[in-house]
Symmetry: D2
C-alpha cells in the first residue's frame, strides 16, 4: 500500500535510505527448498555496485549482503527471507550544503511535499542505492525461475544518441557497457569520456529479454503480464518509458504488418514481444526501457531553496555519468520479480487435473 512492497505471492518489501544504517529487503512467499547462499545474491549485486561499468562513479561500496532469516542449511524454508546490506561508505556530511536547496530533477522537493519532512542526505529512498535491495531480492526470484529453465538478461541498446545496430549476445560480457554491438560499445565509451569532461550526463535504452518463459503467465485484465512489466520497470527511478515487442513502432504499423502469423512450429515473428492479451505465449519476452540522464550534473543549474528563493547549484561529489550499465541488473531484477510472482500465481489456480504450468499439453 505505501509502495515499498512488490508482488502478490512472491512478495518483496524493501527498506533503507542511501545514507542510513542499511538497505534491505524482506521476501515473503518464496517457496521452500531453493538452494540459496549469500554468494548467489552477491553475484548480481556486484554487477550493480558503484565503480562498475564505464559510466560509474568511483565510490567504492562493498555492498555485502547478509541473510538474516528464512534459510536453513543453505535451503529456503518457506519463511520470510530477510536480506540486509549495511552502508559502509556513506558520506552524509557531503550533503550538508544541500540541506536547504532542491536539486533539479531529484525527488527532494516532492518527498517534502508528500511527507512534510526533509531528509536531505543523498536522496534517501529516492536514491539509486535503493535498487541494491531490489537486485538482492531479484537474485532470489531468479533462482526460482532458473528451476523452471527461465532466463532473464538485459543489455544496452542505446547510450545517448548512439544505438546498437547488432544483437550479438556473446559480446555483452566483453564490454563495460554490456552492449551487444562491439563497435557501438566503443563509441559509447568515447561519448562517456566527452560527456564527463563537460560535466554532463547521459541517458540510454536497455532491452530485457526473457527466454524459455512458459505460455500462460499473466493475469487478465488489469494484471496483464505486459502491464505488470511496465509498472515494474517504470518503478525504477531513472526509467521514463517502457515498451513491449514492437512497442511505439507498432503505432505506425498496419494490422497486416504487425500481426504475428502462427505456424505449426510456432509464431512466424515476435512483434507481440512474447505476450498476447496480457498472457505469455511461449516466445521470448522482449521489453525496452528509456533511461533518463542522471540529474546530478556538474554544471550550474537554477533552482530554489526551502524559502522559495531563486538560487544556483553545482553538484559535485561522486556521481555516475549514466545509470547505464549499472541499471541493467536492476531491470533484470524487476523482470525476475514479476515473473516469479506470476509463476506462483499461475500455480495457484492450476488444479490437480491440469498441467502444472498450463499450456504444456492443452493445444
Amino acid at each position: 500500500m505505501a509502495g515499498n512492497t512488490f508482488g502478490d505471492i512472491f512478495r518483496v518489501t524493501t527498506w533503507g535510505e542511501s545514507h542510513g544504517t542499511a538497505v534491505g529487503a524482506t521476501i515473503d512467499g518464496c517457496p521452500p527448498s531453493l538452494d540459496l547462499t549469500p554468494e548467489i545474491i552477491q553475484r548480481d549485486l556486484d554487477r550493480r555496485r558503484p565503480g562498475t561499468g564505464g559510466a560509474a562513479s568511483p565510490r567504492q561500496e562493498p555492498d555485502r549482503v547478509e541473510i538474516l532469516s528464512g534459510v536453513f542449511e543453505h535451503k529456503t524454508t518457506g519463511t520470510p527471507i530477510s536480506l540486509a546490506i549495511f552502508n559502509k561508505d556513506a558520506h552524509s556530511k557531503s550533503y550538508d550544503h544541500l540541506r536547504d536547496i532542491f536539486r533539479p530533477g531529484h525527488g527532494d522537493i516532492t518527498y517534502l511535499k508528500k511527507y512534510g519532512i526533509r531528509d536531505h542526505r543523498g536522496g534517501g529512498r529516492a536514491s539509486a542505492r535503493e535498487t541494491a535491495a531490489r537486485v538482492a531480492a531479484g537474485a532470489v526470484a531468479r533462482l526460482l525461475l532458473t528451476r523452471h529453465g527461465i532466463e532473464v538478461s538485459a543489455y544496452t541498446i542505446a547510450l545517448g544518441d548512439i544505438c546498437a545496430a547488432e544483437r550479438d549476445m556473446d559480446i555483452i560480457g566483453q564490454n563495460k557497457l554490456c552492449c551487444p554491438d562491439a563497435k557501438a560499445a566503443r563509441r559509447m565509451e568515447e561519448k562517456i569520456k566527452a560527456t564527463r569532461s563537460r560535466g554532463d550526463t547521459l541517458g540510454g535504452i536497455v532491452e530485457i529479454r526473457t527466454r524459455n518463459c512458459p505460455p500462460g503467465l499473466g493475469e487478465p485484465v488489469f494484471d496483464k503480464l505486459d502491464g505488470a512489466l511496465a509498472g515494474a520497470l517504470m518503478s525504477i527511478g531513472a526509467v521514463k518509458g517502457v515498451e513491449i515487442g514492437a512497442g511505439f513502432a507498432a503505432a505506425a504499423h498496419t494490422g497486416s504488418q504487425n500481426n504475428d502469423s502462427i505456424t505449426p512450429t510456432g509464431f512466424a515473428s515476435n512483434r507481440s514481444g512474447g505476450i498476447l492479451a496480457g498472457i505469455s505465449n511461449g516466445d521470448d519476452i522482449v521489453a525496452r526501457v528509456a533511461v533518463k540522464p542522471i540529474p546530478s550534473i556538474g554544471r550550474q543549474q537554477d533552482t530554489i531553496n526551502l524559502a522559495g528563493e531563486a538560487v544556483t547549484i553545482r553538484i559535485g561529489g561522486r556521481h555516475d555519468i549514466s545509470a547505464i550499465p549499472r541499471i541493467i541488473p536492476v531491470c533484470e531484477a524487476m523482470v525476475c520479480l514479476t515473473l516469479a510472482d506470476f509463476l506462483l500465481r499461475q500455480q495457484a489456480i492450476q488444479d490437480s487435473g491440469m498441467a502444472r504450468i498450463a499450456g504444456d499439453d492443452c493445444r
Copy 2:
C-alpha cells in the same frame, strides 16, 4: 490477485465476457457523498461505444449502465457500487466458424494455454468490450477527482504515420478523431478510408494530460505514480508502450538538457511529465501510449487450428479500423482510477496535524 481488480483503496473489480450476459464493475472503497447518477457514467460510456469515431465499426451497442448498489438518493454511501451493462447486440453465432481456429494477434491461444478452456465467442475477457466496465468505473473515479479540481483528458497525437503537429485543445471536440491538430485530423480520416478499403487496420499514439494534480501523490518505491500509470495504461489490451514526460526522447538527452530548472514560480519546463521520484510535483502529468493496430483484419492470414495444423483465416464481421479514438476514454479512465486511488492513499497517511493533501503548505 487474479488480475481483474485495480487499485488499493479505490478498488475496482470488472467482470463479464463480450458475448455473455453482461459486463460490469464493482467499486469498493469509493468515499461517501459523491453525487452519482447513471447519466454521469453514461456520458463517458457514450464516448467509447461502438459506432463512435471515424475508425469505428457499425455495431450498435447501446451500453446502458445500471447502478445496482451503493447509491442512495443520488449520493454514494461508502458501500460497494455495483455497475452492470447488459449485452444487447452480441452475435455470438457469428464466431462459430472460429471455434477451432486461433486468430493472429488475439488472446485466444494464450487464454487456452492459461486456463485449458476455450470460450471462442468474440474474445471473452480479452475483448475490447471489457473496457466498457473500466470506463464506467473510471467515471466514478473522475467524480472524486473533480471534487479536488483535477482534470484528466486524452487526445490523439498520431494515427498510423500521421502525427499531430499542434496541441490546440479547443479542436479536440471538433473532429471525430479527437486530435488537437485540425489539419492532421483531416489527413487521418483520409488514411482511415484508404486503410479500410485495403482490409487493413491502424495504430496510433494517444496523449493523456492531467491538470491541477496536487503535489505529493505517488508512493515510493514500487508504487511510483509513473510506475502505476504505466502499469494501468499498459493493461489496456491494445497498448504496447507507455512514456511519461520526455519519455523515450529522454534517452538521447543529456542531463543539462533534461533537468527541469526550478524557479520561485514553479518548474521552468516539464520534461519530467509532472512526476519526480515517482511523486507528482504539481505540474501537468503527461503520459503517452502506443496503440497497436487492431489485429482483426479483413485480409487472409496464416494461422493454426486446435489440432495444430496450418490453416488460413480471413476475419469478416463488424470491426473497427483503429482502437483510436474509442480507446481515448479508456485511457482517461485508467488515469482517473489511478489518481483516485493515490489521492485516497495520500489522505490515509496524512495525519490531523498535516495539510489534507500534502504540499499545500509545507514548502
Copy 3:
C-alpha cells in the same frame, strides 16, 4: 481494503443493500473447469432463505441466483464469476417510521458515524440479507473443496440456554434447527415459541466441522488458519465469539491435559481442533461461534433519534426469533471461502518437485 472483499487468491467481493435493487458477489480467482450451474448455488441459498427453520420470519424471498459471467457451457473459465440475486420482496416503506430513530443493537448509528450518510432502509449492508451473497460465493468455493474431498458442515449445539448433549450427525437434517441431538431440538422449538410470544429473541452456538482437510493449509504467522477462520466467522454480523478445538475450555486445562498425543496412526485426541501453529494437521477442523440474539425485538426499548433526544421504539415487522438456523449455511460459506483460498495459496508455493498438497508424502 474497504472491507467488502474476502480472500487473497480465491477472492470474493460482495455488494448490495437489503432494500436496494439486488445483492451479489464477484468471485475473482476461481480455478477453471469446475462444473458450475445456478442449481448448485441455489441449494445452499435455499438453506438460508427467510422462512426457513423454526426460528424464521414469514418473509418469503425467493432468492434466485443468476450467473452473469465466468461460466461457459456449465464450466468455470477462470474469469470472474458475477453472481446476482435481485431483491423481490423488499418493503422499504415499512422502515419509514425508523427514518430518524436508531435501533438498539443495530449498525445504523455506527454507519452514520462512519460515512456521514444515513440509508434507513432495513439495515443496508448491515442487514443479514448481505449474507445471501456470501452463501452464493461459498457454494462455488465448496465446489473446489469437494474436488479435493473436503467436506464442511455446521449444526446447532446451543439455542439460548439449551445445549445439545449429543453429536448425532444423522439427526441434523431431521429437525428444523439442524441440531445433532433430537431431544434438545424439541426443547429448542418449544423455547422459540415461548420466546416469540414474549416478543423476544434468542442467541445460540453453532459448531462447524471440516472433514478430510489435508495437512499443510494455513500461513504462518499472521494468516494462521485458525486466525483466518476466526476473522472470517466473526465477520458474520451476529457472531460475538469464536473458538477452535478446546477453545475457551483450554484456558483451564493444564498442558498435560491439553496436548494431543501423536501416535503412528494419527493424533490420539483433537483438542487442537485440527490446527497446530496455524496449519492444518489433517484432523477434523472444529470451530464454534457464539451467535447473539437478534436485536430487532418486539418489546419497547429506550433509544435516541437523529436529534439526540431520548425516545422509545418498538420494532414490528417480519423478523426472525433467532439467527439460528439460517446462519448455519453462512458459517459454512465462510469456512468454505477460507479453505478454498488457503488451498490455492498452498498450491502457489508448491513447486514441481513437491507433492501437490503438501503432507501427502513428506513424512
Copy 4:
C-alpha cells in the same frame, strides 16, 4: 499472502526464526512525523521478554531493538521502518535431541507437512520469540494511537481455573501476573508454583480494553472491526478463542437482555463491546482471548519420530509455565496494529468536506 504481513495501510511484515540470526519487522505505511526512538519500542519489548512475570522461564534474552531505517532525527519520515532484534541467547544445540521427534502440541509436524523441510531448532517461526517483532511493531502503532488519544491495555482475568473477580486497574502494575484482582493474583502465583513442581503448564484468559476509540472505525462487511480483532488475536500462537463484549455469554441472552439501550449521553451498557455492525461506536472496545497452556511440559508424552514410529518425549530446558503474563503486550500489540490500520483506512475515505475522524460531528 504468505502470511507474514499484517495490515493494509499500516502494514507490518515480520521475519526471523527463534534460533536464527535475528527477528525483526518492517513497517510500511507509518505516517511521517511521529516521535520515534528505540527506547519507546524497548519499553513494550521489556514487558514480553523472557524472565518476566511469575510464570516465566529463566532464559535471559536482552531483546535490544535496533531501528535500521525510516527514522531521521527521531521522527518517522513516512518511509519503511526496519526493526531488528538480534538473537543473543539462542542455544540451538539444546534442540539437537529433538531433531527427529515431533513435540506434541507444537507446529513442527505441520511445518514439515506444509513446507517439506524441517528446521528443528526451537520452533522457528512458530516460536513465541516471533512475537517480539509483533511487539516492536505494535509499539510504533501505539504511538500513532496515542496521538489520537486512544489507549490499549490488557490484563489477566484467569489463570488456569482461577478467575479475577474484580477489575481494579490500579492493581495491574502491582503484581507479576498483571491481574486486576489482588487476591486472585496471589492465588495464581501459588498455582504456578504447584504446577511447576508437577512439570506441567497453565492456560488462562486475557482481556484487552481500548479506551477513547473514536466511532467509525471498522469496514463492513468482511473487515468488520470485531472480525479483524478476532483474526489478529487468534493469530497469536497460544490463543484458541476470542470473544468481543458479551461474547459467548451472549449466546444464552435474550435480545432484550443483550441490546444496549441508547441514551442522550451514550449507551446504557456495553454488551456489544464497543462495536456495532463491525464499526466502533465510541464505547470501550473489550475483547477476551483464551490462552492455551504451553505445550512444552516436563512430563513424559507419547509421540512419533520422523520415521513415524511411536516414541516418548520429555521436554526439559528453559520453558515458561504459562504464556501469561508475557502474552499481554503481544495482545496489546495486535490490537494496536489493528486499530492503527483502521484509523488510516478511515482517514483514506474521509474527504475534505467531512470530519477527519467520522462521528465527531455527524450526529
